[in-house]
Every structure is written in structure tokens, then in C-alpha cells.
Amino acid sequence: MSIIHARIFVVGDNIDTDQIIPAQYLNLVPTIPEEYRELGRYALCGLPDSYPPFVAPGEYTTAYPIIIAGKNFGCGSSREHAPIALGAAGVKAVVAESFARIFFRNCIATGELYPVESTTRLCERLRTGDRAALDLDTNQLVHEPSGSRFPLAPLGDARAVIDAGGIFAFARQSGMIQ
């Protein structure tokens, strides 16, 4: 997938894993398909009430497949439920100023979504609900209402792993494992 067209959901700095998926939902096991789907309902439900709902009540997926964030997105716990809840909700990419280490790695390991770093601070320039196009070949985010283009850092080797669907799928595709 080279270009992702989608509505964006804008959040600030230090969105931690408890806000992405509150701990009460960690009784769901991501490798059980019904529970994977269920995790999507609760994606980002731990955000403060000043945010609009990320997933509408009664829905399993979001209307906002691209998240725009500030610094240190995904800090806190190592729970893989975090990228999985976002992926199950239909999120394709998070574009953040920076990522916490374990969350970033879990995005790649699971292949759930693309964690893309922006070279400028976008979370104060863009608004939730706007449409954007994320181009992973040219490494830019196009804000469709204004036509503004914002540069992104290349994903490098991680791109192919996520394209394949995670480390195990990538390792099989590339012949590293049987």
C-alpha cells in the first residue's frame, strides 16, 4: 500500500498505552479472532473526554484510519494490545513527531499499522475529520483540503516488514524461516 487516503484523528503529546487501550480490556487475547475484533471497539477510549469518540458507540472500526500525533506516541506499557487495538479498529498509520520504543517495535512486529515520523509538528496544524493522503513512497502527508504537503521520515527497512504483515510473515516471504 503506497498511498492511504483517509480522514485523520488528531491527538497531542505522550498518548500512552493506557489511553490507547485501558487496562480493563487486557483480558482480551489478541490472537483469538473474536477478541481481536472486540479490541477495536475500545481503541483510544482512554483519551480524556475533551476528545471526540475515536470509535463511535456500537461500532468496531473508526472513521479515522490515520492518526496524527505529537511526541512520544505509545509511551508506557509494552502491551501489544495497543497497536493491535488500533489495527483492529482499522487504523492504517500513525503519523507522530516521535514514538515510544516498544510501541514502535510492536507496530512493526505485528504489521498492524505504519508508525511514521513527521519532521514537523503536525498535531497543532491539522484538525480531526480533515482528509489526508499518506504517501509512503514519496514520504509525505498531503492535507487534502488545503493541498499542503508535509515531509515524513522514511520508514526504511521497517516498511517491507509491515507490508508483509509482520515479522513472521516477512521472514517467511524472504526465506529467513520456513
Partner: protein
């Protein structure tokens, strides 16, 4: 060219003479730890990817410690422990601490050292961000996700990027009213919750050398709150005495070379330090307890991997020996060992259990992660509304302890106990 302790441990486990920050290396794993929250998903990945008949890489190197959601009516949580139990039986996992038996321990990061699973110079991975606690024993320890853990379960190896090291040289002796928590909250306040992202945090200096092993665990536990990949403290006689009492397994110690290269060096003198608080809603929202004094609280909490060790309860007892609490005060020992020690450890001639009962604290809860991370609705001490809590735990992002309209202040056991007595945030020097 010299290497840091972190680089030397990773080099040896990668079978290389040397590594440098930024190198991606395949590393052999000495211990893989998982628990009831991430274990079932890890097992799910392992069975999906390696097949139903696959064997784990080493039944003696996989340690499974259910600890998060144990004392709850939630059926899914019990189902998850059942998944662990069945897996351990099928594979003959040696180290499974089953909540349904006398072998139950409690919080994994405190149980790991108590049961002899932390050893200098080793690589310990766990499906929990606070796995970095074990760096206090001079080993490389870090948190990983289920998919990486599923890979380790099958192969015993992981691909790791060698982190650059930030060195924190801590001078001076901690005054009698300060604890490791005050120091690490101050460091996180200075560098921020992403101040050590992708990097090792190495703690050294006179103050660290003088710390007990439990206080060193508090330092390394909180490395992740600055985004650190690992926290680490070189082993010494304190480490050796603790470890050798609990395991007969051999280990190889590593130490930073005098000419090791550091990403940065930070010098802190604790003589300048005051009792610390992290205000809502971030561990780097530093203030002195003095500056927050008078802020009303509705409850106090002493527990978790970072603040529920015997040292933490002894500190609270020093203040609660002659004072009654004025807000509900929740006590959750990290492990069965800590819980038992509360009954047998005396302060001023009285068992800690008696001191806490006389002070009016709530009955001591069974060991687990409890309300540190909210959890199921029936979790002991969980915040349900717009409470204002002061807590010895490690994280206070919105909703962390169960309610996103609640406010959580993080502090040392001294500051939490003093605040519980007054019903508002209180500088513990008033009592010490």
C-alpha cells in the same frame, strides 16, 4: 575502544568481541518472563507461527508469573490463567507460579529476583515494560511485545538494537527523609518522559553504591518512564549477596570500561534534592512535595513493583507508627514474600502489620498489581470516579489507575504516608 556494561552484555550474548550503539544484533536470551496479561497472546503467537507441536526453546529459561488480574471475579481473567496453566503443563515449564497453589508469588518484577531469576551479566526479556527493574542486578533487562516474545519462546533469540547509554552519576548520601523514588522522579522531571527513548540509563556514583538492592530496583524500574530501553547498575557485593542467596546458577559479571563512550553524562548531588512528587497526568510533571503541600487527596496507595517492596512499607511504617491516616489508605504488598515479611518485620518493637492496623489503614490486600494499572472493575483500590490519589506506583497518565477523571500524584512511601495522615499532600520532613 571501551564499552559500557550494557554494550558488553549484549556483545557477549551476540557472540561478538564488541558492539557499538546502533548495531542490530541477534542476542541469546537467558530468561523470558511473561504473565497473565500478555502470556496468552504470546502463547497464541508461538503456536500460530511454530505450530501446535513446537517446543519452547528451553523449559528452564521460561518464567511465567501470573500477577495482574488474580483477585477478580472476571471470568476472562481466570480463563487467561487457565491458558498459562495448560501451556506450562504441556511443555513442562519449570518456573510457573500458579495462583491456585502455594507457589503463587505476586508481582513479577519483584518475584523474579526473590526467586533467583535475576543474575548479573544476563539478558532478561519480559512482556512487560517494567522488566527493566532487573537492571538493578547488573543485567540487561527490557520489555517486549507478544510477537517478539512468541519468537523468543520458539528460538531463544531476539534482534536488538544496541542502545547508546546515558550515564547518571549520583553524588552524596540520601538524607533520612529521601528515597530512590524522590531521585528518579527528579531525573524524569529533568529529562522528560521521552528523555531516554531508545537509550540505556546507567546509574552509578556514591549514592547508588550505598543503596539497598530494593532501592536500586526502584531506580531501574522507572527507566521506562523516561522512555529508556533499560536501566542498569553495575553489580557489587550488595548484588552478589542478594543473588547468591537465591540461586546456585553461575553468572558472568560485566562492568563499564573506564574509557566507555556515553551518549551523555549527568551529575546530580542529592544534597540539593527534596521530597519529590509527579503531578497529574505525567511522571515528568515534577514538583517538590513542599510546593504541592496542602493539595487535598481522597486516598493513598502503597503498592506495585516500584513501591510495594518491604523497604517501601518500612518507610511508611516510620511515619504511621505514631499517626493515624485520615483518608482511605490501600496497602498492596508486591509479593507473598513481602506480605509475609510485613507480619514478621518489626519497627519500634511492633510488626508492620500492627502498625498499619493501628494507623487505620485498610486491611492489607493479597499481592498483585492491583490498582496500579486500574484493571477489572472489582480490582482492589481501583479509582472509579474523580478521586485524587497519592501513590507509590510508577505511572499517572490519564486513566492509569482506572478512571480518567481521577488525578494521581506519584511520590515516595514517606510522602504518601505523610499525606495519608494529613489528608493533603505533605512534605514528609514534618514527620521524620
Amino acid at each position: 575502544m571501551g564499552m559500557t556494561i550494557t554494550e558488553k552484555i549484549l556483545a557477549r550474548h551476540a557472540g561478538k568481541a564488541a558492539v557499538a550503539p546502533g548495531d542490530n544484533v541477534w542476542v541469546s536470551v537467558d530468561v523470558l518472563m511473561t504473565h497473565d496479561v500478555c502470556g496468552p497472546g504470546t502463547i497464541g503467537v508461538f503456536e500460530r507461527e511454530f505450530g501446535p507441536n513446537a517446543k519452547v526453546f528451553d523449559v528452564n529459561k521460561v518464567v511465567i508469573i501470573p500477577d495482574h488480574y488474580i483477585f477478580t471475579e472476571d471470568k476472562m481473567c481466570h480463563r487467561n490463567v487457565d491458558i498459562l496453566r495448560a501451556f506450562c503443563a504441556k511443555h513442562g515449564i519449570t518456573h510457573f507460579y500458579d495462583p491456585a497453589t502455594d507457589g503463587y508469588k505476586g508481582v513479577c518484577h519483584v518475584a523474579l529476583p526473590q526467586e533467583g531469576h535475576t543474575r548479573p551479566g544476563e539478558v532478561l526479556l519480559g512482556t512487560d515494560s517494567h522488566t527493566c527493574t532487573a537492571g538493578a542486578f547488573g543485567e540487561f533487562a527490557t520489555g517486549i511485545g507478544n510477537t517478539d516474545a512468541g519468537f523468543v519462546l520458539g528460538t531463544g533469540k531476539i534482534l536488538l538494537k544496541v542502545p547508546a547509554t546515558m550515564r547518571f552519576i549520583i553524588d552524596g548520601a540520601l538524607p533520612h527523609y529521601l528515597m530512590a523514588k524522590d531521585l528518579i522522579l527528579r531525573i524524569i522531571g529533568e529529562i522528560g518522559v521521552d528523555g531516554a527513548t531508545y537509550r540505556a540509563m546507567e546509574f552509578c556514583g556514591f549514592c547508588i553504591d550505598a543503596m539497598t538492592i530494593e532501592e536500586r530496583m526502584t531506580m531501574c524500574n522507572m527507566a521506562i518512564e523516561a522512555g529508556g530501553k533499560n536501566g542498569i547498575i553495575a553489580p557489587d557485593d550488595v548484588t552478589r549477596a542478594y543473588v547468591k542467596e537465591r540461586t546456585a546458577l553461575p553468572f558472568i559479571e560485566e562492568f563499564s570500561d573506564p574509557d566507555a563512550r556515553y551518549y551523555s553524562s549527568h551529575r546530580i548531588n542529592v544534597a540539593d534534592l527534596e521530597p519529590s512528587v509527579a503531578r497529574p497526568h505525567s511522571p515528568d510533571n515534577y514538583a517538590t512535595a513542599r510546593a504541592c503541600a496542602g493539595t487535598p487527596i481522597t486516598q493513598a496507595y502503597i503498592g506495585s513493583c516500584t513501591g510495594g517492596k518491604l523497604t517501601d512499607f518500612l518507610a511508611a511504617a516510620r511515619i504511621l507508627r505514631h499517626h493515624k491516616v485520615s483518608v482511605p489508605t490501600y496497602l498492596v504488598p508486591a509479593t507473598m514474600q513481602v506480605k509475609n515479611d510485613l507480619a514478621t518485620t518489626l519497627y519500634d518493637g511492633l510488626p508492620l502489620t500492627t502498625i498499619f492496623a493501628q494507623a487505620g489503614c485498610l486491611p492489607i490486600a493479597p499481592p498483585s498489581c492491583a490498582a496500579c494499572l486500574g484493571g477489572p472493575k472489582d480490582t482492589f483500590g481501583r479509582l472509579m470516579g474523580n478521586e485524587v490519589a497519592i501513590s507509590t506506583t510508577n505511572r499517572n497518565f490519564p486513566g492509569r489507575m482506572g478512571s480518567k477523571s481521577a488525578s494521581v500524584y506519584l511520590a515516595s512511601p514517606y510522602t504518601v504516608a505523610a499525606s495519608a495522615v494529613r489528608g493533603c499532600i505533605t512534605d514528609p520532613r514534618e514527620f521524620l
